[in-house]
Each structure stands twice: as C-alpha cells, then as structure tokens.
C-alpha cells in the first residue's frame, strides 16, 4: 500500500508535510550540509523585516527544562539582501520556500508583501504577528484581534489573490480561536500554531534577568501540549482551515500527534538546534507511523483525533 504523503496549505502543495520552523533554520544554508533541503516539505525562513536589524544584546538564550528561551530580536539582513541572496540560493537548491515576514507597523507588513509578491520560487508567506506594534503602545499584534486582522488585511490586499498567507499566532492569548477567526476572515489561507510562549529566567547568582532582552520565547518539548491543544481547538472551530503545527516536536510521534489534532503540516524548530537532521529524520518516522496506522494518505489522518470512535473503521475508504 503506497502512502500519499503530500499536503496542502491552502492553494500551496508540498510533497511532504515536514517543514523547518521560522528562526530555527536561518535561511537554510547551514542545514543544507546535513540533508538536501528539497527533501522536506519546505524551508520556512527566519522572519525578515524591511530593514537590517542587529537584534537584542547577549545573552540571547537559556536552556530550561525540556526547552529553551530565546531572545534574538529578529536580527537579520533586511528584505533587499534577503531577496537578492537568500531566495535565489534556496531556489537553486530546489527547496520550496515559505517566507516569514515581520514588522513593527501594519504598513511594514504590507511593504514586505509588496516586495515579495513578484519574487519567483515562493510557495507561501508566513506572517509572524508576534511582534510589538509600535503604533499601539508596543502591544503584540497577535495578542489583539483588531491588530491581527489589520496586518493580515493589509498583506492580503497588497498581495492580491495568488500567494497563500499563513498567519502565525501566539499562544499567549485568552482565546486563540477568536484570533484565528479574525485572521481567516481578513484573508489568511491558513494559520501556524504556535509561536513561542513568553518567559523569563532570573540568574540567581547575579540576581538579575539572565537574558539581555530580559524576556524570551519559550520553545521545545515543554510547550508541545500547549501546541497540541491550540491546534485541536482551532481545527475544531475552523475544520476547513489548514494548520501548520509546531511547538516542541522532536520525533515522528510528536509530529503525528499534531497531524491527529488537525495540522496539515508540522514545523520542526528547537529540535534542529539539538539535531541538525531532526526535520528529515522526523519526516521519515512520521511516514512510517502514518502507514503503520493504516492510512493511505497523510491528509486522511489530519484531524483524526476529532472523529468518533466508530468512524475509525471508515478510514480505509478515505
């Protein structure tokens, strides 16, 4: 029995459902030394902004139980250098590309969309809305339904209808489903769940926050159940909206759990820091697991955890 392992995120098709996670693969160059980038679903690049950014002061990371905090501050080369150097290199590798964009104002996101809309080789845009909105007292876009909607609306209008938009949501909200509804309503083709959770470590020697930026994003296996819950809730409320799941996935079992919760694809992030081959290894483990459970396609396993027990016998026919 052959398995159809392909997946779609809105109109974008991918031959496999494992992706890198934004900020955990840079622009792919380093990981290419460990596996062929075209062998996974897509490379999700580190969030790019309009201008080059030096990022936050060091220390930028702290290991925590089954996870880590990072406080990078979106260090990056800016959109011009990214389009001139990183995209053509990834295209040359035959990799599929999801470009993650980040901004400080609604207009900045739209500017990035305008710059990227005619660049060949991009499969989708992931819109990282977990950034402080400088026009709204620094409140994170993703924590406010109105700001979240405004960003996606601006990107959608600028892009036109072609390039799929995946809105990456923060779990640091009271009701993630209501934010998901807003961004979908504004024109997002799918949602990425979840971004890191905001955390802090205090160094008990210096008796001060350990990170240069004081707070950081918590990632790794410690947050996986939060991600599974968010994916499950959003899939339940919006079953037709594709979800790119992520948060602490470190093996095929973890990825399968997200597929069952309702994810159409799974991004591998922090696991790559510990194992540069994590994405490709998780992909083959997932493939074996999906087959072993009797599914003939990856898509038929998406959201399976939501089904009634008696529907299980029907999966052969899907």
């Amino acid at each position: 029995m052959t398995l159809d392992f392909s997946t779609t995120l809105g109109p974008a098709w991918f031959p496999a459902p494992i992706f890198t996670a934004s900020g955990c693969a840079s622009s792919g160059k380093e990981l290419a030394q460990f596996f062929p980038l075209k062998s996974i679903g897509a490379i999700v690049t580190k969030s790019i902004m309009v201008k080059a950014r030096p990022g936050r002061p060091t220390p930028r990371m702290a290991e925590t139980p089954s996870g880590m905090l990072n406080s990078i501050g979106l260090q990056g080369p800016g959109i011009d250098s990214f389009i001139a150097n990183d995209i053509p290199w990834l295209v040359e590798q035959g990799a599929r590309i999801i470009v993650s964009i980040a901004g400080e104002t609604v207009d900045e996101y739209a500017t990035l969309a305008r710059r990227l809309r005619s660049v060949p080789g991009i499969s989708a845009l992931e819109v990282n809305i977990s950034c402080p909105n400088v026009e709204n007292r620094g409140m994170v876009f993703a924590c406010d339904p109105v700001s979240s909607r405004a960003v996606i609306d601006g990107v959608r209008r600028t892009l036109g209808g072609d390039l799929p938009i995946i809105a990456k949501l923060s779990p640091d909200v009271t009701d993630i489903v209501s934010i998901a509804r807003e961004v979908v309503d504004a024109g997002a083709d799918g949602v990425a769940l979840i971004n890191t959770l905001l955390g802090m470590v205090i160094n008990t020697e210096t008796m001060r926050p350990h990170l240069g930026g004081k707070t950081g994003g918590l990632s790794g296996p410690a947050i996986r159940p939060v991600a599974v819950r968010a994916i499950y809730q959003v899939h339940q409320a919006l079953p037709k909206i594709p979800i790119l799941g992520m948060g602490g996935v470190r093996n095929g079992r973890d990825a399968f759990e997200m597929i069952l919760a309702g994810a159409s694809g799974v991004s591998v992030g922090t696991a790559t820091f510990g194992n540069p081959k994590a994405a490709i290894e998780i992909q083959s483990e997932l493939k074996a697991l999906v087959s072993a459970k009797g599914f003939t396609s990856l898509k038929s396993a998406v959201g399976f955890a939501h089904r009634e027990i008696d529907s299980e016998s029907a999966k052969e026919s899907m």
Binding site: A25, G55, R60
Partner: protein, 282 residues
C-alpha cells in the same frame, strides 16, 4: 558573512577514556576520518543526557588535541569542567559510551607561514586548545611561550605532556596558590617586549580576552582569540552566540561566534559593546 565549516559532520563517537585531571576531565573519543579536517581552534558540539533527556541543546567544547595516529585511528581529546548538568553527564560517560557529536565546527587558529615568536595565553580550562596549537606551532618552527591563569591552582589545566610542547610556561593564580600571584595580563607588556612576541593566541573568559586585546593593540601585536559565547546550536542557525565585530567600513556587525569564530581577531571585536544594545545594523 562566512559559512559553516564545510567539513562538519554529525557522527557517532566512542569514548576511549575518561580521566580526571585536577578539576577537569580529559575525555578521549574516536571520530574516524573526520579527524583529518580538525584543527586547533575548531570545536565539537555534543548531544547530552541521552534520548529522553530534558536537555535539548548540544554542549560545545574546544578540541584540545587532535591525533590521526595510534591504535584507535582518529581521536580527539576534550577537556571538560563538570559545572552544569550537561557537562556533568558528559564527565560521567565511561569507556565504550557512544556520543552523538558534530565536528569540526568553527574556524581555526591561523598558523604563521614563517617561524615567529608566539605567546599562548589561557584562562582556566581555556588552555585546553592551546596545547594542540603549541604542537602545530612548534612543528612550524615557531618559538612557543605559554602563560596560564586562573583564580586558584586547581583550576589551572596544564598536563605534563602539554608542557613538553612549549618553550616556557608561566602560571598565575589570583589567590597565590601556585605560580605568580596575579593575572596573566599583569606583566604582559614586558613579556611582549622582552620576548619579541609577534603573535598572541588566547582562549578563556571574555574579560581576559578583552584585556589582552587592549594590550596587544597598544603593542602592535596580532591577537587571535578563541571566544566563549553561549550557543544553542553550534552550526549557525540560532543566532544566539553573536558578538559585535567592527567591519572595514566602520559599521558593527553582529557575527556568530560559531561560524565567524570561535577564533577572532581580537582587535576587531567591540568588547565594550558585548551584551549591549547595538544601534548599527549588520
């Protein structure tokens, strides 16, 4: 911006021996063919804690000595201080244990083409990569003087066999428990002058590297230092280990010490800006 060491490979390495040397562990591992590309200055990133470990990040160690001869083929010697949970796990690994490692990572110390006078300065177990470097420099005909410093005598790493590869060795301790009372930088100007030092190589805490850089610059001596900045990945994807480096056009770039280092030209590191917000973009 440079790229990941093109010889870096993820491999399984066997622990051949694990000996206590003072406060440190001297761990010898077999790595096979990849040893041919390992140079003094390069580092290794090791997965710790086993399969179900809650420690999600690798630990980085400087390669202390590299050997492609002997009954085990290619071997690497690492000096590990059992300070945190990851390094304690590593120090508990016994002969026969299998480690998941990535090496060689980072750049290497530049070796002079001419036989020149070199001074190697190590702080604490930062001396580890300097003994392998000393052997390479000696083979190149260089004069090799070494000075090591630490807060206290047990924190000096100076194995007997290492002492043979240097022309002279001075030890400094801050508590006067061995050698000279003081710090490695106390008489550095005189040493540079009296021994006609051409190149300084150093490895150790950032404050020590910063102090050496300032003295080396005034004396007009080349200073190659191996930095120690905390890293999550070691392969250039996480952007945590950045240092402010002055570019030729005067701008400051936040460069990754895992890829553009760990060996850096001490005179271009903006030591005063380490840990500060940087105004200038890359």
């Amino acid at each position: 911006m440079s790229t990941i060491n093109r010889y870096a490979q993820q491999i399984s390495a066997h622990v051949l021996s694990n000996k206590r040397v003072g406060q440190y562990h001297q761990i010898l591992i077999s790595v096979g063919e990849v040893v041919k590309h390992c140079r003094p200055g390069n580092f290794i990133a090791i997965s710790v804690g086993g399969e179900n470990s809650g420690m999600v990040l690798r630990r980085a160690f400087a390669l202390s000595r590299v050997s492609d001869r002997g009954e085990f083929g290619g071997t690497l010697e690492l000096i590990v201080a059992p300070h945190g949970s990851g390094s304690r796990w590593l120090c508990s690994q016994t002969e026969g244990a299998v480690l998941d490692v990535i090496t060689p990572l980072g750049d290497a110390f530049g070796i002079p083409t001419e036989p020149v006078n070199t001074l190697l300065i190590g702080g604490g177990y930062g001396s580890a990569p300097l003994f392998g470097l000393a052997e390479v420099l000696k083979a190149r005909g260089c004069r090799v003087d070494m000075i090591l410093g630490a807060s206290s005598s047990p924190k000096i790493y100076a194995p007997l066999e290492g002492k043979r590869s240097v022309n002279s060795l001075k030890i400094y301790t801050e508590d006067a428990s061995s050698g000279i009372h003081g710090r490695v930088t106390d008489s550095l100007e005189e040493i540079i002058e009296n021994d006609s030092i051409d190149v300084i190589y150093s490895c150790g805490p950032m404050a020590m590297l910063a102090a050496i850089s300032s003295i080396a610059q005034s004396a007009g001596v080349v200073h190659q230092c191996a930095v120690e900045e905390s890293m999550a990945c070691g392969i250039g994807v996480c952007m945590t280990c950045v240092l402010p480096i002055r570019q030729e056009d005067g701008s400051i770039a936040m460069l990754r010490s895992c890829i553009d280092g760990p060996v850096m030209d001490g005179s271009v590191v903006e030591w005063d800006r380490v840990g500060k917000v940087n105004e200038v973009a890359e």
